[in-house]
């Protein structure tokens, strides 16, 4: 009996010590997270003040050099602030609105710095400066609650988890939304881009579920007689579509087809692929061409092919205009199995969205020898249409250039044909 009591006492003491140890570990962990979050919060507050001061200071100067310096500061700080805010446990609405507003300021600074249109910058920033000052004050008030918890992390988390309606961030969220809409209204090209994205231009007649299945079977003959489950998109979807899920043997997949016009926008099929059986790249190209002909996509050209373990991913683009330019935003992607060449996927969303191209954009020739440094070799050059940062579709030169050393690092450089803005530089694998 004595021994049992003795053993039990030891067990209780050991358990107590263990529980104490675990609790201490948890406490230390909580304190570490608490310190990290508080650090991020303070960091974000400091950067916000700095950004606000920089925006205000940018209104002081007419001198280009002084203004450029402030614009660079603003662009850099806005990026850093976005990064700090994204690391904080904020309500999603507050975080999203902040990221958008701060990002817009950074974008404007970059645009002004690039195109030298300082007047537009200063006229926009007069209002932004005032609003940003107010938002900075509101941020300070709202975040004060995070510092008033006597080191209790549970209370701290409670502040972070409060629904927006009761949260200290309520006013800030509401003002951010208003200011974003007023200070940075959508440009025409942004608005057009959204309309295009939401397929607003499709005016075709509506099709039925059965017709949607027919569209799918015409484009992907391999799944004829599959078992289908068809549902319609939710009421809030920006464009109505049929969501077709199918099963045929070992194949399981889906297709989304617009209700208006029956355009196939997305299709994927999953099935086991035999690992050691490969058809040739030439055969894949042949099958792609057969598919294009069957689908009636007669204005598409092959841009890129990428082989991986089970399938080929193929990127096609519409060719249009007097320059036979590749319209990259009107792309189609195909996925073809390596073992048999079966079509496993089709993404034609961008092709269905279809851009209106401006054929009259001037083409000012570029002397590439002057444009690039002497050790750069221009290997290929063609015309493409692509979107710039302002969502405008621009005719561009697309140049494949490489360094003339033994590594041959290769780059894709996209340059506007009219104003010679460099729209994209991308290192190619």
């Amino acid at each position: 009996m004595k021994s049992a009591v003795y053993l039990l006492s030891i067990a209780v003491i050991a358990l107590g010590l263990y529980a104490f140890d675990v609790k201490e570990d948890n406490k230390q962990l909580q304190q570490a997270i608490h310190a990290q979050y508080t650090n991020s919060l303070s960091n974000a507050s400091e950067k916000l003040s700095y950004l606000q001061r920089s925006v205000a200071q940018s209104l002081l100067f007419q001198d280009e050099k002084a203004l450029q310096n402030e614009l660079d500061n603003i662009w850099r700080t806005s990026n850093e602030l976005r990064s700090s805010i994204s690391g904080l446990p904020l309500n999603p609405d507050v975080a999203n609105q902040w990221l958008r507003y701060i990002g817009k300021i950074g974008d404007e600074a970059k645009r002004a710095s690039t195109n030298g249109d300082y007047e537009t910058w200063q006229s926009k920033m007069k209002v932004v400066n005032k609003n940003l000052e107010q938002l900075t004050d509101e941020w300070a008030v709202a975040t004060a609650q995070f510092y008033e918890n006597d080191g209790n992390f549970d209370k701290w988390q409670q502040v972070a988890k409060t629904e927006l309606e009761e949260s200290p961030f309520k006013n800030l969220a509401s003002n951010l939304k208003t200011y974003t809409e007023k200070d940075f209204p959508l440009t025409t090209s942004e608005s057009d881009w959204l309309k295009k994205r939401d397929l607003k231009h499709i005016r075709d007649r509506e099709i039925t579920k059965d017709e949607a299945i027919q569209v799918l079977e015409k484009l992907v003959p391999g799944i004829e007689d599959a078992t289908y489950t068809v549902s319609k998109s939710k009421d809030d979807a920006p464009y109505p579509f049929y969501h077709i899920q199918f099963v045929k043997g070992s194949r399981v997949g889906y297709a989304d087809i617009t209700v208006k016009g029956g355009h196939l926008i997305s299709f994927l099929s999953e099935r086991p692929v035999q690992p050691d059986k490969n058809i040739t790249q030439e055969k894949v190209k042949e099958l792609v061409q057969q598919f294009i002909d069957r689908a009636g996509y007669d204005d598409l050209a092959l841009v890129e092919m990428r082989e991986n373990h089970e399938a080929w991913h193929i990127h096609l683009a519409r060719v249009a205009g007097k320059h036979n330019a590749f319209v990259y935003p009107d792309g189609v992607q195909l996925k073809v199995s390596k073992d048999s060449g079966e079509l496993l996927g089709l993404n034609a969303m961008e092709y269905v969205q279809r851009e209106n191209i401006n054929e009259n954009q001037p083409v000012v020739p570029i002397d590439w020898k002057q444009f690039f440094r002497p050790n750069t070799v221009v290997e290929e050059e063609r015309f493409i249409y692509t979107e710039n940062e302002a969502y405008e579709l621009r005719l561009c030169y697309e140049v494949i250039a490489r360094f003339s050393d033994n590594i041959n690092q290769t780059y894709r450089v996209v340059v506007d044909t009219e104003n010679h803005d460099v729209i994209k530089v991308e290192q190619l694998p």
Partner: protein, 264 residues
């Protein structure tokens, strides 16, 4: 004795004959695939190794036929008086095989072990291993230029942690949501920041993001990176059976895939 000698000679000649007949097969290189930009796999590994052996290719031997391999092949074709097209057809491969050596076993062993190595002719192989890089070539992928292997790995972890029980379509959709956020001004600018944004993904909060993703999750990410978006431009998703946040229910919904409702 003579008979024994004759039998021995016959056996010897048969053996030599067999080896002579077998030799072309042993040195037979490449499959019958015509290799060009975009190709991937063992044939490309051999092509890169042979080009490096001859001093034309200085990049990584990784089985990915990119521009580095393309320019090296063109230079080789030019030097050997072949048609310069950057395509490894039968003739190019024959000339390459006749002028270079390829130790398939050694090269693949280095790749499978994730070692950083080169394969230049005239240098002992043991002097060409530079150390471990960690990632095995056999598990790598050819990705669109704007993505890295790290992006693929991180996204595959997120997809596996969030949606491993979902249909393939649902897994691609989760990956697409991450990429849609990357394009949206309302979200951070990098894949890592998006995934680790506090409260953004349940798998991060409950630690399931650290589970090792399977091949299917990686394929799903690869499809999303290649342009597929079964979510139809969604920025959020939630499980209607478990979601308690009023906010998420207030989002405009697009479609349901498996257990997830996708919204924007």
């Amino acid at each position: 004795m003579v008979r024994k000698l004759l039998i021995s000679m016959l056996i010897l000649m048969t053996t030599i004959g067999t080896f002579t007949v077998m030799k072309p097969e042993e040195s037979f290189a490449f499959s019958n695939q015509v290799l060009e930009r975009g190709a991937f796999g063992d044939d490309v590994i051999e092509l890169q190794a042979r080009l490096q052996y001859l001093g034309f290719y200085h990049g990584k031997i990784d089985g990915k036929f990119g521009y580095g391999t393309y320019w090296a092949l063109r230079n080789f074709q030019e030097s050997y008086g072949l048609k310069v097209d950057g395509i490894a057809g039968a003739q190019t491969k024959r000339v390459l095989v006749n002028n270079s050596d390829f130790d398939r076993e050694w090269v693949h062993a280095q790749i499978n072990a994730g070692r950083d190595f080169t394969y230049y002719g005239g240098i002992p192989l043991n002097q060409q291993v530079k150390g471990n890089k960690g990632s095995s070539g056999s598990t790598s992928y050819q990705l669109p230029p704007k993505f890295t292997e790290q992006d693929l790995q991180l996204m595959a972890n997120a997809v596996y942690g969030e949606a491993r029980g979902e249909p393939y379509e649902g897994q691609v959709a989760v990956a697409a949501v991450i990429l849609n956020r990357l394009e949206s001004p309302d979200f951070p600018n990098t894949i890592s920041e998006i995934i680790f944004q506090p409260g953004a993904f349940t798998a991060v909060a409950d630690g399931q993001i650290w589970l090792t993703p399977n091949e299917r999750a990686k394929q799903a990410v690869l499809d999303a990176m290649s342009g597929w978006d079964p979510s139809e431009n969604a920025l959020y998703y939630f499980n209607p059976n478990t979601a308690t946040s009023k906010w998420i229910w207030s989002r405009p919904q697009i479609k349901q895939i498996g257990q997830h409702i996708f919204c924007y």
